[in-house]
Amino acid sequence: MSEHAMNFMPSEGFRARSKEVVENPFLRQSFRGAMDFLINKRITQFPSAEELETLRTLGEQIRQYNLGKLPTLLVQLEESLTRNGIQVHWAETPDEANAIILGICQKHSAKLMVKGKSMVSEEIELNHACEAAGIEAMESDMGEYIVQLAGEKPSHIIMPAIHKTKEEIARLFHEKVEGVDYTDNVDELIQIGRKVLREKFLVADIGLSGVNFAVAETGTLCLVENEGNGRLSTTAPPVHIAITGIEKIVEKLDHVPPLLSLLTRSATGQNISTYFNMISGPRKADEKDGPTEVHLVLLDNGRTQAYADEQLRKTLQCIRCGACMNHCPVYTRIGGHAYGTTYPGPIGKIISPHMLGLDATKTMATASTLCGACGEVCPVKIPIPDLLMRLREESFSEPHVAWAMVYRSPSLYKVATWLGSRFNWLTPSNQGPWTSVRTPLKPAPKRLRDLLKERA
């Protein structure tokens, strides 16, 4: 698939982009295979339906409790982090967040930033901002590294390079990494990435990361990962900058274990990730490694707008596991790039409007059958289908006057459907999009009400 740069009107071109993927059997098979893999892995992690259900309820309660106290907890988090020696910054917009991060970089005359996986940094397009400021921003998550090398964007929030085959990656490494021969052996490819990125970790001036949970009481930033690049990004360089949306906060440390368990089991079907990294401060005077400065940037970017509305506030419960994508029949058919938003899939459809505006994202709400698979697997019970309906209501203004007139009036309904059945031979054979892959819809010659009368 060609490069799809961040699109500020993702609605435009959504159908064209979806069509491109749908008509590519190879891509379709590869998304299908990957999603099946993740779906099956998740289900093995939840052998007990009762445990899954009660744990999801607990997850929902934890998230709702913390969102209920969000402003208080943010102030508490700021106090705890400051006490621990972590510097806290606030940003309302992506531009403000980038300015804060670049300011820290410039203070340290930074040339190279290594990045752990952070969707918020994608959201603010930090890499572009760094490039413009003459700072090299290097992605270090294997998937993100591959995507960056290819000049693309992540197509899944957990598996950024899920749209690429190993052969494509082999060609990419051969072309873009100096001295690398073509190999499509996955182990060898990973070792190539490891080698390149190790040298970057060694010399990087800044390490950037996201945050999975920020604990207000203890002033702790928690990061979930498997590769170790998140730990390296937050440990090896002299300065660590973490960035997070304001919603990723929990009051107490003991809120973390249930959420962590839900997150890793829902995301990749692992009972736990390889690493869970809890950072509560920069290097102390007697310690020998770790960054000497740690910063946290708290980003709004539309989250306060969602917060203002009781129903839309539920979008902020999200712990970014991606299970809604994995289980979405639409995502499975079109992959992440078609959406044109940083966050694709069902969750992307309901959070992107806060970031980009409803006008820019309205087509997306129609790209769902409301099948409910996303809501069913959401580990924190976000009612995604209900929220999609709500967005549909807000996206459209022209009412279906004629339809309502017919169906609210039994007499008009009877006339209209009688005409439909009596003249069913007049049914057009071309019924627009419906007949592109289906035979035309044709009313039966007699309606049920007619059959019942005949029978009597």
């Binding site: 990957a34 309302e92 590769e227 170790g228």
Partner: protein
């Protein structure tokens, strides 16, 4: 008004009803039982081995011997240790006679970062405890045993006492009073490690040794018959 004040003002203006505190203790009470040390050790072992770690049952007396065997089998000639710890000292005294060099982590990383990244094949640290249900090691790196020890060397060997294994992550933090100043104030870095570094980012194919250790070896004290 600063960005901070504007964000807080918007949040405070929202009509939000407080929600009841989640009953986390009750959930774990209902859904997780208690187990004997042997049961927990067995579960821990099965889980972390499933995640590709090697586990050896050892005793307090025998672990240095097993350490030597593991290093020899893996043809490791240099081991990063923490000289400020008793286990580090024991490793130094045992291995120095066997031709394996022990490198102590004694300076700030800035003084030897190149060597750490390029010339340290293995490290030895202790674990503070472990979690049975997920096969997880709990490490709290400190001045003696700094953060990068368990991260940069391609082979990480961990000493774990079976008596410190808990059933769940929740149990570890509540039993040990994590985050409570008078008991266990949070360290600058606390880690849960559940296997060697890995990734499935290329075509969902699992590969080990993405960025952290390629091999994780656990010397489990107390399980030995």
């Amino acid at each position: 008004m600063s960005a901070r004040d504007r964000i807080l003002a918007k949040l405070n203006a929202a009509p939000v009803l407080p929600k009841a505190a989640p009953e986390i203790a009750a959930w774990y009470q209902t859904h997780r039982g208690t187990e004997s040390t042997a049961e927990k050790a067995a579960r821990f072992r099965a889980c972390i081995e499933f995640a590709h770690a090697e586990v050896y049952a050892v005793s307090h007396a025998s672990w240095p011997q097993k350490l030597w065997e593991v290093l020899t089998a893996k043809k490791v000639e240099k081991l990063l240790v923490a000289p400020g710890t008793t286990h580090g000292q024991r490793a130094i005294s045992v291995l120095s006679e066997s031709g394996i060099t022990c490198r102590g982590y004694e300076q700030s990383i800035e003084d030897w970062k190149e060597e750490m990244f390029h010339d340290i094949p293995a490290s030895l640290t202790a674990a503070r405890g472990a979690i049975a249900e997920t096969g997880t090691l709990v490490l709290w790196p400190d001045a003696h045993e700094p953060r990068l020890m368990s991260l940069v060397p391609p082979i990480h060997i961990v000493l774990l006492d079976a008596n410190t294994i808990h059933n769940t992550f929740y149990e570890v933090m509540s039993n040990e009073g994590w985050g409570i100043e008078s008991q266990s104030a949070m360290p600058t870095n606390a880690l849960l490690i559940s296997g060697p570094s890995k990734t499935a980012d290329i075509q969902v194919t699992l590969a080990y040794g993405a960025h952290g250790p390629k091999e994780l070896v656990v010397l489990l004290i107390g399980e030995e018959a």
